[in-house]
Symmetry: C2
Subunit: 205 residues, 2 copies
């Protein structure tokens, strides 16, 4: 069976990896890298121009992260399957990615050989999620935070004082303190800063 090769888009801001990967994937006879991109917007533009079968996206890229790109892609190019590759697997990201219609989600500790297989898997219409990441996501569970709690936590992310958070969120200071307090309580954190760290780790912010 000599079907048409799978057309792949590669997006990663690290040239070293992108180039190396492109070279390795080209070794596979049934795969062809038709486009490369270093940023989110670039990936989107490339996808529009080349209409690849599968898009391999890094999770963290300048401009727009992999999940955002996947969301846009899903709307504009539904036939293009998305496979996300990431270095730091945060549980929450996996959930967001799946919600965005991503078909595959694997850590960068995967070998190139395996990645090639997964590209085929995804192209065939199947899904694949790294078992370890999936386990993490399940054990981390859903975010216990309400929408406002998460929002306020996000505003607190850079260590800003309560007054500033209140202004940015257009809330009273007391209200902000309450949300921060309840969020920290739910996360089992000593204070809001530790809470921010925890929420970050779990991908809840």
């Amino acid at each position: 069976m000599t079907a048409a090769p799978v057309r792949v888009l590669l997006a990663d801001d690290e040239h070293l990896i992108r180039g190396a990967l492109a070279a390795l994937l080209s070794l596979e006879e049934d795969l062809v890298v038709v486009a490369e991109a270093a940023t989110g917007p670039e990936a989107l533009a490339m996808a529009r121009a080349h209409a690849p079968d599968v898009a391999v996206l890094d999770l963290q890229m300048p401009g727009a992260d992999g999940v955002k790109v996947a969301t846009s892609l899903r709307a504009e190019l539904p036939s293009c399957k998305v496979l996300i590759v990431t270095s730091h697997g945060r549980p929450g990201h996996l959930k967001r990615a799946l919600a965005a219609g991503v078909r595959g989600f694997v850590p960068k500790t995967t070998s190139a050989q395996r990645l090639a297989e997964l590209i085929r898997t995804v192209h065939a219409g199947n899904r694949y999620v790294d078992p370890e990441l999936a386990a993490d996501a399940i054990s981390a569970g859903d975010s216990p935070l309400t929408a406002r709690e998460a929002e306020v936590l996000e505003h607190a992310a850079d260590g800003a004082p309560v007054a500033e958070i209140a202004e940015r969120a257009a809330l009273a200071e007391g209200t902000v303190r309450n949300y921060l307090s309840s969020a920290a309580g739910k996360l089992g954190a000593e204070n809001r800063h530790a809470a921010v760290r925890l929420a970050r780790e779990r991908g809840w912010v």
Copy 2:
């Protein structure tokens, strides 16, 4: 001139990159990858076993980071030149790396082609530092923090309350607060948490 090929050790925790890189570098006739490692200690062990000419190390690896490995390597295997590759170029890291006797320091946005050239450059006894990273390091300047300030700031990194920091650093709470305060002042931060963030960004912790 068909000199003996340059023997290279490759250390990076991301299998995808390591493998791809190994494949690409092997394409170069005068380079041969003699060992691979996924963690700091593993890199060290591999270096001892294979005595490579050049060690290409990722800055962030489990176990021990690239700079620590470089330090040990310098003591144990002085003939082995170290080239550090990093995704997130923090100015301070560059300084630490050079102090550890590292011969090259480049971001992962470098192409594999260029990396191969740099391996030769480094092997020939020359140094190379990415110009942009160098500029960052220079503009960021030296850490204005005293040893104690930096130490306390490090203990404060995970958002722990002052009491805990005081215990860990074996200082009085008031003293800790003072160091934190002066550090925040020097960094132009609103509070210690923002200070931690800034110091992190500049690689001063």
